[in-house]
């Protein structure tokens, strides 16, 4: 992997982010409805003088391109503007909520990949066996269940039948002042249901994908070579096959990240998880444009970073791509 390649990927990522900023900005400016009227509505009245004042305040009276320039300049300085609705800097609003979202998304991602790949690999050992059939059925079900409904069903189950996991929020009020370890455990306890709910859809997909990928790899010539030199079945499976089979899984994991964030939005709503999901929902309903743009910006940035990491790990895993540009 050459530094020039890394540099190019980074540059490209930044370019994508710039694109996201421009798109958001244009969308909101081109959409029907006048932002000034919306803001005025929040303030409880709308006469022409107030509207003009608001327009001047938010720079809405300037030409669209100038507004765009100003906005990009501000974003570059870390200033995402002021929320109309919450009356706070957007950066602060997001800063408070991005941590829980990242925690939830990463946990779900790791959980679904680990469990999914494990299921897929053992299913691939007997492609016509019971477990293989189970993985197929489970994957189809996982694909077909609406994630928010799974969450609700789990809440019903765990709130009334097996009350062992908390079904709401991220922390217990009574433990707010406890030591760090206790609080961390408390968060982990709260995390179980939301992370599992979110992981469930993708878990099934990874199981199916890694089963198919393993089956393909297990039929390849170099696996026959490994067997011909006397390698044990476990070494064939986990050393020779899995590393090759993981390449398509990595690709999908990268591509799925955007969908995972969308899923997180719904799961956060269901479990009252204090992440960006609620903020996104509120700002969209209130047409709080600076916040909407901020949320979209950060969510896209997470996808860009995830794609970058995927790309780099793909290159590490596949020597055929190393040193190529």
């Amino acid at each position: 992997m050459t530094p020039s390649y890394l540099l190019r990927r980074l540059f490209y990522g930044l370019l994508l982010m710039l694109g996201v900023v421009v798109l958001n900005f244009l969308l909101i400016r081109l959409a029907p409805g006048d932002p000034a009227v919306v803001i005025a509505g929040e303030m409880g009245g709308a006469d022409e003088a107030l509207l003009a004042a608001i327009r001047a305040d938010y720079g809405l009276d300037k030409p669209v391109l100038t507004q765009l320039g100003i906005y990009i300049g501000n974003v570059l300085q870390g200033d995402l503007g002021q929320s109309f609705f919450f009356n706070q800097p957007v950066a602060t609003l997001i800063g408070d909520r991005i941590g829980p979202t990242i925690l939830l998304v990463l946990c779900a991602q790791v959980l679904s990949i680990l469990l999914g790949v494990f299921l897929g690999v053992i299913a691939a050992r007997k492609p016509n066996g019971v477990l293989s059939g189970f993985v197929s059925v489970f994957a189809t079900i996982g694909y077909a269940v609406p994630v928010f409904w799974t969450g609700i069903m789990l809440i019903i189950l765990f709130a009334s039948v097996f009350p062992i996991f908390p079904v709401e929020g991220m922390q217990s009020v009574r433990l707010r002042d406890a030591g760090f370890m206790i609080r961390a455990l408390d968060v982990a306890h709260h995390l179980v249901l939301p992370a599992f709910t979110l992981a469930l859809i993708y878990l099934a997909q990874y199981a199916r994908l890694s089963r198919a990928s393993m089956l393909e790899v297990l039929g390849s010539d170099y696996i026959r070579t490994a067997r011909a030199k006397g390698a044990s079945e476990r070494s064939v499976l986990f050393k020779h096959a899995l590393r090759n089979a993981s390449l398509p899984i990595l690709t999908v994991a990268g591509l799925q990240f955007g969908n995972l964030i969308s899923g997180a939005l719904l799961v956060e709503t269901v479990f009252n998880w204090p992440g960006m999901g609620r903020l996104a929902f509120d700002s969209i309903l209130r047409r709080d444009y600076p916040t909407i743009m901020g949320v979209l910006f950060f969510a896209s940035a997470m996808v860009v970073v995830a794609n970058l990491l995927t790309d780099l790990s793909y290159r590490l895993a596949d020597p055929r791509l190393r040193g190529k540009s």
């Binding site: 050459t2 020039s4 540099l7 190529k324 540009s325």
Partner: protein, 323 residues
């Protein structure tokens, strides 16, 4: 004898991916100033190993790969200068048979439609005439008319190659380019197809540009043979001259490497000419003779000066020390 095809200084380049951020795009020269000509009714074989540029040469000749330079005079007309529509019309005279009988037929079309399609495209004849022609061609290549409505996957490899030949003959072409037409087939089937090609050449007066890596096959089909190495013709001669008295060390090595029933382990056969290693990379071809690094006869001059194709007896050879 009239010259059907005269290729002069044909060159084909492929651009490779950019190196680094703003680096230049390296160029791979797959075919380097290749010249040859083909008389009406004869077969010219181009032999060489993978990467020698033999297939690219053939494809560039009939403009299925874009040439970077040179001339392809076909019946006195430079094919490389024709506009797209004129070239499209010319395709009725130059047809192609592929290597892989499995991927060269559209799996979603019935074979009768596959064979008829060239006539549809060239708007030849009435629908009835076209149908009759397809049946006639089927008989000509040794297939039965009751197989007309089947799909390609319902035929064996040899039969598919017959279908491919029938398709190529539909428009009564003058030149047939055969790109390794038998190398994907089992030997017994090979013989069937080679005999068919020989019969068609005699009966229909076809000319072949015949690409192969198999010297035995080329010897059987071709009147003249050109040997390619790293994008250049290194030797070109009438068949018997080439096989009986090869002049270029590479041709000699090829002939001595080709397995043959005449060479028997039990009789203590030891290969007379041995060459080691692989051909050099076409991205940075050597300055001198491309074969120098593997050549048993190589001298200082071979690494410095590129030999040109010059007459040597009945052959033409690009070597500083032929013979």
């Amino acid at each position: 004898m009239t010259t059907l095809l005269d290729v002069r200084d044909l060159t084909v380049q492929f651009a490779l991916p950019r190196q680094g951020f703003f680096g230049p795009r390296p160029v791979l020269e797959a075919v380097r100033q290749v010249s040859f000509s083909l008389e009406q009714g004869r077969a010219l074989g181009i032999v060489g190993e993978s990467g020698s540029g033999k297939t690219t040469t053939a494809m560039a000749t009939i403009r299925l790969v874009e040439a970077a330079g040179g001339k392809v005079m076909f019946q006195g007309e430079d094919l490389l200068q024709l506009d797209d529509e004129a070239m499209r019309q010319r395709r009725r005279d130059v047809q192609l048979i592929f290597q892989d009988p499995y991927s060269s037929l559209n799996p979603r079309a019935r074979v009768a439609d596959i064979v008829r399609e060239p006539m549809d495209l060239m708007e030849i004849g009435t629908p009835e005439e076209r149908r009759a022609r397809v049946t006639e061609l089927f008989r000509l290549v040794g297939l039965r008319p009751d197989q007309l409505n089947l799909f390609p996957h319902q035929f064996s490899g040899g039969q598919r190659q017959r279908i491919s030949i029938a398709r190529a003959l539909t428009t009564n072409p003058k030149l047939l380019v055969c790109d390794e037409p038998v190398s994907a087939l089992d030997v017994a089937i090979q013989a069937q197809i080679l005999n068919l090609l020989a019969r068609l050449k005699a009966e229909l007066g076809l000319s072949y540009l015949f690409i192969s890596h198999d010297l035995g096959v080329v010897r059987h089909v071709c009147d003249d043979v050109a040997v390619m190495y790293l994008g250049k013709i290194v030797e070109m001669a009438p068949r018997d001259a080439l096989f009986d008295a090869p002049q270029h060390p590479y041709t000699q090595a090829l002939l001595s490497a080709a397995p043959s029933l005449a060479r028997r382990k039990s009789r203590g056969y030891v290969r007379p000419v041995k060459i080691s290693g692989d051909p050099p990379s076409p991205i940075n071809p050597p300055k001198g003779c491309a074969f120098a690094d593997r050549c048993p006869k190589a001298q200082e001059v071979c690494r410095k000066v590129q030999p040109v194709l010059e007459p040597h007896g009945p052959s033409r050879v690009a070597c500083h020390f032929p013979g």
